[in-house]
């Protein structure tokens, strides 16, 4: 049998198979039962089952052909953000008459916190206008990026981070089905390094299986070493030892070659600061400077130049204090 990505292979088919999130799953089951489906907002961190739950709900509601029969459509707001998508694609789908016994379609707007505010206002009108025809499920990491009027039109479901116990147990089941040997410590390490993101955990497990059928911690570290080569840390260390040119080269590599978002580099630096072997006072200083860099970048300044300026300051903060 040919292999498909395990995240797809083990994607829950029905609400019953959704992991954890018990309260939410129960409410969604009730909703399917009664056919009284409101517009919904699924909020929560990455890889906790938001999109998966939406698909499972649709399958429970419409049956296996939920997508092929056109009752359910998925639009990814981060790839197709903006007014144009909402106006054209979403509106077209929303206004077309639904058939079948359920009587309305479902539009899944994934990563909808990426929609511009204009697009969200356009969406809000569409939600009202075509509510007899279709329901929206908005999926987002942060509800504060969704405008109030939309939030007030939706039933909000807050997905929580999946507990370590549940995730490692689930990973263990997958390992068994895939005839792998995986130690508990290995699975816990996967969970820790993936920040509890189940999609990442499963991808890591599958990647690990390409290295060895017997997975221990060292295999996991090897996989994660491939994935995050610790470039940010390397850059910070180079900067700290006064090798500014080399540090900038690493930065440019990440920004221009690997296409890493400046946002993600900022996040990693922020986490790294607290692990650095410098005094607490110096950590505070760096936090403050990083905050300023963050602000400038968000206002449109260049990621490379602002981060470079920060790198140039690191050896000073090392010595000072």
């Amino acid at each position: 049998m040919s292999t498909i990505p395990w995240t797809e292979k083990y994607r829950p088919k029905t609400l019953k198979e959704v992991i954890d999130q018990k309260d939410i799953v129960q409410s969604l089951k009730n909703v399917v039962e009664s056919r009284a489906i409101p517009h919904m907002l699924f909020v929560g961190p990455a890889g906790v089952g938001k999109t998966a739950s939406a698909h499972a709900l649709a399958r429970d509601l419409y049956g296996g052909g939920y997508m092929s029969e056109g009752m359910f459509v998925e639009v990814n707001a981060s790839d197709e953000r903006g007014l144009q998508t909402v106006r054209e694609k979403v509106k077209l789908f929303a206004r077309s008459q639904a058939f079948g016994e359920v009587g309305f379609r479902i539009i899944l707007l994934d990563e909808s916190d990426q929609l511009t505010e204009d697009a969200q206002h356009a969406l809000r009108r569409i939600m009202e206008q075509f509510s007899s025809n279709c329901r929206f499920i908005l999926v987002a990491n942060y509800s504060n990026k969704i405008i109030e009027p939309i939030q007030s039109r939706c039933a909000a479901f807050r997905f929580r981070l999946l507990p370590k116990k549940i995730v490692t147990k689930y990973l263990g089941e997958i390992a068994k089905k895939e005839s792998l040997k995986a130690s508990d410590a290995a699975l816990e390490t996967i969970y820790d390094l993936s920040n509890g993101d189940l999609r990442k955990c499963i991808n890591a497990l599958q990647a690990a299986s390409s290295l060895s059928k017997s997975i221990d911690e060292s295999v996991v570290y090897k996989v994660m070493g491939y994935v995050d080569r610790g470039e940010v840390q390397r850059m910070l260390e180079l900067a700290a030892s006064g090798e500014f040119l080399k540090a900038r080269e690493v930065l440019r590599q990440m920004l221009y070659y690997d296409g890493v978002a400046g946002r993600d580099i900022l996040d990693t630096i922020f986490r790294q600061i607290f692990r650095m072997k410098i005094s607490d006072r110096r950590k505070m200083l760096l936090v403050d400077q990083l905050g300023e860099v963050d602000h400038r970048i968000s206002e449109g300044a260049s990621e490379e130049i602002q981060l470079s300026a920060l790198l140039a300051k690191i050896p000073l903060t090392e010595r000072a204090g």
Binding site: T51, S78, R199, A207, S210, R252, G259, A301
Partner: protein, 406 residues
Amino acid sequence: MSAIWTEKYRPSKVKDVVGNKTAVEQFVKYMESWEKGKPSKKSALLYGQPGIGKTTTAIAYAGEHGYDLVEVNASDFRNAQRIKDIVGTGSQQSTLVGTRRRMILVDEVDGIAGREDAGGVAALSKAISETKVPIILVANDPWNKRLATLRQKSKTIPFRKVHHASLISYLRRICSAEGVNVSQDALQDIARDSSGDLRSAINDLQTVCEGRKNVGEEDLGALGYRDRPESVFDALNSVFHGEGLDEARRSAGKVDKDLKTFFAWIVDNAPRQLTRPRDLASAMEALARADVYMSRIYPNQRWVNLRYAVPLMTGGVALSRSETSRRFVRFMYPEKFAFMARARSHRTKKREVASKIASKSHCSSYVASKDILPFLRVVFQNDEKMARDLAEFFEFVKSDVEFLAK
């Protein structure tokens, strides 16, 4: 003072117009269509930057082919009435006179469009509709919104910069006619400084030749009224080794690169020039502040921010040096440019792969490239069989697979 050279050496024959062969040919054809009685459009719009022969071409043609030239300068127009008086009347009389043909030349058409009063454009437009003689319009910027109607009614003929070589050879002809000896270097400089504007080049030439028989590059100092471009290396020298704020600041205005490019040169070279960590940190912060101001320009075209950015990116760096170093470190072509070129194809490929992954994984390309693609890399580098299966699932082509296995 003797005659102004730009007038003295203005060509009287169309074939003597310097450069712009295509434009001149188009213009001649257009005029011939009038002479055959069937012009496709009743007016022609000659456009392009100043001093490249638009008006000269029209005047030369009129002279050679026996036209009475009614020349009006649109900058003088105040209102519709004046246009009617001059253009309207002139354009109707041709047939009455009969013996000599008439051409109306309206110079600096953008001059009327620039005025608040749009009546002038409307009157001109009306005159074109009714004219019985060719009306030639000359403009610098044909895309001015208020010229839209005139543009539609006219045969448009673009004039381009005069090539460097043609410029120099024409300047040299003037020199020999005037009996002055001007060095090749000086001619090069004058030509380069004119950026294709023949008229300004001739004016400059006349200025430096005034009262001299021999002119070298050093005599160009007389041309104080136009800043001479400076090589990027000289400008960087002012920034990194200059006397202070004023010298550094001026370098940005003189350098023969646009400001963004010059900025990239400074940013790239700063860490090589400033080796003391404290100096470098201070310079990089000044550059970061300059970058902030640069970024404030674009959303709303607030060019005022430029005046804050320039002193920071130049003087801010100049003042960061805590001790005068006489050690010379060569300035380098920005590594960033080479880096970007190499990175471009890599990133394009990565985007393609990420978008294929996204379409099969219920997520965005961003999430795919961040949270899925790196794991696929591990698989593609370590397990050929699984890689083959996954490649089939994601519908990867050979180059995608190579990208992931690399």
